[in-house]
Structure formats: C-alpha cells, structure tokens
Amino acid sequence: MAETLSLPAPTPTGDSKEYWSAANDGRLILRACRTCGKPMFYPRGHCPACGSGDLEWREASGEGVVHACTIVHRAPDQAFRARAPYVIALVDLKEGPRMMANITDCPPEEVRIGMPVTVWFEARSETIAIPQFRPAQGEKK
C-alpha cells in the first residue's frame, strides 16, 4: 500500500496565525495579556487567567527547562516511525508557560528533567516550521 505519510504540519487558526508565521521566520512569540500581564500558551483570543480580550504578542527568549520527558518507541505512523526512538518533552519556558516539543540533537537517554534547552525551528512545509528544543549551549552532551 502506497503510504505517503509525512510529518504533520499544523494548520494555523485565527488565534494562532501570527504564532505560526513567526515560527516560520525562526521566532518564538507568546500571546500575553495586557490587563493582568500574564503570558499564555497556547495562544487564545481571550486571557484564560482573567478573561481580558486586550492581548499582545511578546518575543520569547527561547530558553526553557525540561519538566517531563519520555522516549517514544511506538510511533503513531510511518513518518514518525522513521524517527523512533525519539523524545517528547514538556518544556517550561523562561517566561512561564509550558509547551510540548521533541528534544533533538542529543541521545534520547540523556534527556533529563531539569535539563536547560533552547528553541530551534524545524521546517515541516514551505510555510510551516515548528518550535523544537535541543540542549542549551554549554550543556554537556
């Protein structure tokens, strides 16, 4: 059977098009609330902390720390199977919010809770690149 599965490229929505557009330019931006001041992830049309619709985009540092991680051996489809085993982690960004990503450029078994990581962007199509993380510079490989 001719399977032509490729790694997924997200389809931006009204509340996320700036986020994905910035990611494609190699920048991680966070939606933040101008009323209560809190940044959020994922981007929304209203602040989940206070309900305000007065929001702005802020440039993120791209630095974070691994909060939890797993080495995936059984992948969801053929495209991911080619990458397995790979690491999925939850990354706590310096700015506060938590997001999911793969931890790359590092043997899977060396990824640890508390490991400092830095963002990079993996192209998934001509218009979409997704934020990924790798061990921060100076972090022992």
């Binding site: 939890a68 995936v72 997001m99």
Partner: protein, 388 residues
C-alpha cells in the same frame, strides 16, 4: 449530605463478550447488553424513558442515543450522548441520577459498545488514532500517542516521589491475577513483574504490559429511583455520592502532572455520601495505564502522597488486601473497548455489592468506590455505591 445521596439505584447490569467479537455488529452488541440488563432488573424495555450513551468508533452516528433508542424500539423523554472519555460512564450515572431525582424520567438505560479489534476499517483506525493524539497544532506535530502522554506523567511522578518501575509493574500483575478469576476477562494468563519489565517499550517508562488492552465489547446499566428499586428483581445498589472535576484536556496544559481532578471529584463524592476513603471495601479505578492507578490512589485519598508504589507493593490492592482494586481485572486485563471502557468498573462494583463475584468476591462488601478518568488525566468523575 445532599438530596441526591441514596435517592437512586442501579438495578440491572450486563456486559457482552470481550476480546474479538466479529459475529456481532457494534450497535447490535450494545442492544444485546441493554436487553440483558433490563431482563436482569426485571423491567420491560418499554418502561425505559431515558437513554444515555457514548458514540462508537466502529459504527459512528450523529445522534447515537437517538439511534440506540430507535433500534430498541423505545421513545425516551431524556436522551444524551456523552463525551468525557474514561469518565463518561461515571458521569452518565451522575446525570441519570440527577434526571431521575428531578423527575425528568423514571427508568434510565446507559448502554455502550465498540469494536476496536474487528470493527474498524484502516481509515477508521487512523482517524481514531488521530482523534486521540493530542492538540492538532501544539502536540500532534511532535508524534505523541496516548501512552506517550501518560508516560510524561509517569516520568514526572517517578522523579518527584522515587516510585520504581517494579512497583508500577505490580499493578499490572495484580490486575492479571484478578482477571484470572473473572469468567469474561480477555487476558487471564498470569504475568510476573519480570514479564512486565521485559515487555516491549512503548513510551518509557511505560511498556506494553503497563498499557490497557484493545477489545470489542460493551455493557449496560439500568437505574431508577430508590423507592422503585426495592420492588425489582436484584438487590439494589444505591448511589450514595458523586463528584466531578475537569481541569484541562491537553497534557501540556495540566497544572501539575502528579495530581489531577480526581482529588476534587473524590472529595465531593465522599462529602455527599458522608463517608471517607477508609469506609470503602473495594475500589474500581480507571486503569488505562499502570501509572493511572498509582496517581488515582493518592488523589482519592486511599494512601498518602508519593506512597502509592509502596501501598501497591504491600499487597493492598489485591484481593485479600486492605483495598482490593479492579477485581474484574480492569482495562489492563479484563478488556478495553475504548469509549465503553469505564462501564465495566461500575458493573463490577455492582456485582461486588450484590455478592455475585464468586472466587473474587470481597467478603461483606457494602461500599464501593468507582472512578472514571478520561483524556490524559483530564476528566474525572467519582461515584460511591452502597448496599443501603
């Protein structure tokens, strides 16, 4: 205490064959369970005036509860198709109790089935997988499946509390032993901790034997008000307490991976029943993975924070222990047809309280705790059931 406590009862239960059931259609299987539960209760199908259900993947319908009613030949005045993942069945019991208590209906049927083994086409299986694989924009691009997302919780939990893979494996061992005593369980071959630790890695620290089964199957529950329940065929099992809490859907949104909405839903249920964890004789806890059982034991107050591993290792959750858990074998060994998975925990609790469990009977079981967990530790509903 609340007016709802003790106001309604479960009066009939039934489960279909589990595992591979190629000879029955999916809705056909659901209806078979419904008729068996009604017959067991001693009520006529025409008496049912409320239908609650979950859609199936094998035979999806736009309005599943309405199609189920039509297939059964009944015209209910209360109809609902619920969608709270593994918390769905406990939540349906809660909704049914509220509707009965409010006088919106008199006799409720809850019935579900699915066919994940023999009922899905390749396209349906892929669609089912996608549906279950996290947020389309912020998670799915990273290749998670449900086990990977529970593995994140397990990783964090083990890191914080030093729980070991051996302790987690013991959960699977106990469930398999219990399934060996259940006539309808799908997997009865005994396993050891070593078997679990040597099984294929799925998403570390979770291995194949840390994960629930994949099954065809379904079940049904009949409920009515307490006064009517006493006149029916079976010993009624009363709903004494109920509580729900839903914190988030996606795992990256969880405020804390080591504690979940079960803490709140459990406290609400205990408060309504005027009971405490120590009053429970048996517990049926949603066991999609071994880690889920550990987290729920702590959040529900059955053991202190960080001590679920030691609690399990002490033999507490096995038959004969301080709190036998999932005496039917759970999703890990009795069967897991997907969306209907949570119905069997309730059915087993009812059978324990009626004293119908033969070799796996918990002696003099008078109070049972049931907990449904859906999504990635996302949706939570707790029930307390009792003989009186």
């Amino acid at each position: 205490m609340s007016g709802l406590s003790g106001a309604t009862a479960i009066v009939g239960v039934a489960e279909t064959r589990l595992g591979k059931v190629p000879e029955l259609g999916c809705m056909q299987m659901c209806v078979q369970a419904a008729h068996e539960a009604a017959a067991e209760a001693g009520i006529k199908m025409s008496d049912i005036d409320a239908v609650l259900t979950v859609d199936s993947m094998a035979e999806p319908f736009r309005m599943h509860s309405v199609v189920l009613s039509e297939y059964l030949g009944i015209r209910p005045r209360y109809s609902m198709t619920n969608s709270l993942g593994g918390a769905t069945h406990c939540a349906m019991v809660s909704h049914a109790a509220a509707a009965l208590h409010a006088g919106l209906c008199d006799t409720v049927l809850i019935a579900t089935s699915d066919k994940l083994v023999t009922g899905l086409t390749k396209d349906q299986a892929i669609a089912a997988l996608a549906e279950n694989a996290g947020h389309a924009q912020y998670e799915r691009p990273y290749g998670p499946m449900i086990p990977a997302m529970y593995a994140l919780a397990a990783n964090r939990y083990m890191h914080q509390y030093g729980v070991t893979p051996e302790q987690m494996a013991e959960v699977a061992v106990v469930h398999r032993r219990h399934a060996g005593m259940h006539p309808n369980a799908q997997e009865k071959t005994p396993i050891t901790r070593e078997d679990v630790l040597a099984s294929k890695p799925v998403a570390m620290p979770l291995r194949v034997l840390d994960c629930s089964l994949v099954s065809d199957g379904g079940g049904a529950i009949i409920m009515t008000r307490a006064d009517r329940a006493r006149d029916l065929k079976q010993t009624p099992v009363f709903l004494l307490g109920v509580g729900e809490r839903h914190l988030n859907e996606f795992v990256h949104q969880a405020p804390d991976l080591t504690t979940c909405g079960a803490k709140d839903s459990g406290e609400q249920a205990f408060r309504m029943a005027g009971l405490a964890p120590k009053d429970m004789d048996v517990a049926m806890l949603y066991d999609c993975f071994t880690i889920t059982v550990l987290l729920l034991l702590e959040d529900l107050g059955f053991c202190p924070r960080g001590e679920a591993g030691a609690f399990v290792e002490s033999g507490a959750i096995a038959l004969g222990g301080a709190l036998p858990v999932n005496t039917h074998g759970g999703l890990l060994s009795h069967g897991h047809p997907g969306r209907p998975g949570g119905v069997f925990h309730i059915i087993e609790a009812v059978r324990q309280l009626r004293g119908q469990c033969d070799a796996r009977q918990v002696q003099d079981a008078a109070r049972a705790f049931v907990h449904g967990n859906g999504g990635i530790l996302s949706t939570h509903c707790s029930l307390i059931l009792g003989r009186d």
